[in-house]
Symmetry: C2
Subunit: 228 residues, 2 copies
DNA sequence: CGACGCTACCGTACAGCGTAAGAACCGCCC
DNA sequence: GGGCGGTTCTTACGCTGTACGGTAGCGTCG
């Protein structure tokens, strides 16, 4: 009776690897990757935990799938970019690519942490770095300098680099002030910055700092490239 | 009878936070941080798991303690360094400091992973970065540029930056060759490198690449400093 | 000198994790 | 209509971190 209609309609369609990974991303976005368990993931799909194992090998595979999904988002963002041909201006092309990737990652704050545990394993990531290397090739790099450039960029090529301090939160400034004796230079720096001497709003603009570091590296590479 | 002598002599001395953390480092060094559980840690001290909780609040506190111990090692290594005064050559001073830190971290391969989960929380790490900032101050940086420099360096200041590929392992080259269609540039780069064109031994010297990236950043900062 | 309290330690227990094994059920083809 | 293959559920195991309560030895005081 009811069971016939219910059984396959409640959970709208059959499970699939795509649906599982999609739910995993949604759950990580909503509650953090820490609360992504096989049971909670199953529950969010209206299903029992063990059912997931027909579509993913194990939890590691779920995490692999997570980076796959995010990388696909990044590839899409990069593809839709109106960036200059690397032959004309590789630095601008690279800068736009990296900032596009970063924008995607900023929507998935858990992603860097997951990436860090799986770098090198994932085809999607390797393929992305291949694209970066290709961009530099077209921009005039030989493979040797390109290789070193990849190392110099590291995770910055993907739009993140472990942030020194996480978003300050409440009373971070007071905490730093309390440590003033232990860390005089940092305390002085924070004091100066919040006096508005530097003219930046807030006392630390992460996006600006990221771009600063990125440009520093890109400029250095450009100097090496023309010298080679 | 026996009990009196035994009970406090078998386990040579009383437990203490220091002994617990020391054992934790030893265990992580030997078997990886993944197999560091409260039970295994207790066992390595000849004690029951719950006894640890009289000296550390919980497992998080153990991990905090791990970075504390490693940072102490780094501070010691840095202190014993015959580096030039930053006033004379801040780049060389910085370079030596960072490479000294890196040498310590290379003895504790698990450390970067643990650091990454706790950065910003730990006084020892903040203090280290304060030292870095102080070095740059003495080298002629104002706080604003020093601030941005810290961000540009990121974890490189501590001697690591998530390596792009972990130590290649067996057959990594073959794996890359198999992906040649997917990642043509990387495959070509690897092929060229292993032909010995570049003259480096092996096909990727991580230490050299780390130093390359570090120097790239330091050179860029120096240019900005003299311009400011 | 004997009792008492403090603290370090142990034993037990529990909830939550990933997942192995097998039973139950669905939709499809013969 | 009967069987069959794949999907889902049920149950259970070993592992984790850790809450709780009991115990044993030392230091102090009456």
């Amino acid at each position: 009776m009811a069971t016939r209609e219910e059984s396959r309609v409640d959970r709208q369609v059959r499970l699939s690897r795509e649906r599982v990974l999609g739910a995993a991303v949604a759950l990580a976005d909503a509650r953090g990757v820490g609360s992504l368990t096989m049971r909670s993931l199953a529950e969010s799909l209206g299903v029992e935990a063990m059912s997931l194992y027909h579509h993913v090998a194990n939890k590691e595979a779920v995490l692999d799938g997570l980076v796959e999904v995010v990388m696909a988002e990044i590839e899409r963002a990069v593809a839709g970019l109106a960036s200059p041909a690397p032959e004309d201006d590789w630095r601008r092309a690279m800068r736009m690519r990296v900032l596009a990737a970063r924008e995607v990652l900023l929507c998935h704050p858990w992603a860097p942490g997951v990436f860090e545990t799986r770098r090198g394993t994932s085809l999607a990531v390797v393929r992305y770095y291949d694209g970066v290397l290709g961009l530099m090739r077209r921009g005039g790099f030989d493979y040797d300098l390109g290789h070193r450039a990849l190392h110099a960029l590291g995770s910055r090529a993907l739009g993140f680099s472990q942030e020194l301090f996480e978003p300050p939160g409440e009373g971070a400034e007071e905490a730093l002030a309390a440590m003033a004796v232990e860390v005089p230079h940092l305390a002085a720096m924070a004091a100066e910055a919040s006096h508005g001497v530097s003219g930046r709003l807030g006392w630390c603009d992460f996006q600006a700092e990221f771009e600063f570091g990125l440009d520093l590296i890109l400029d250095g590479l450009e100097r090496l490239r023309v010298a080679s």
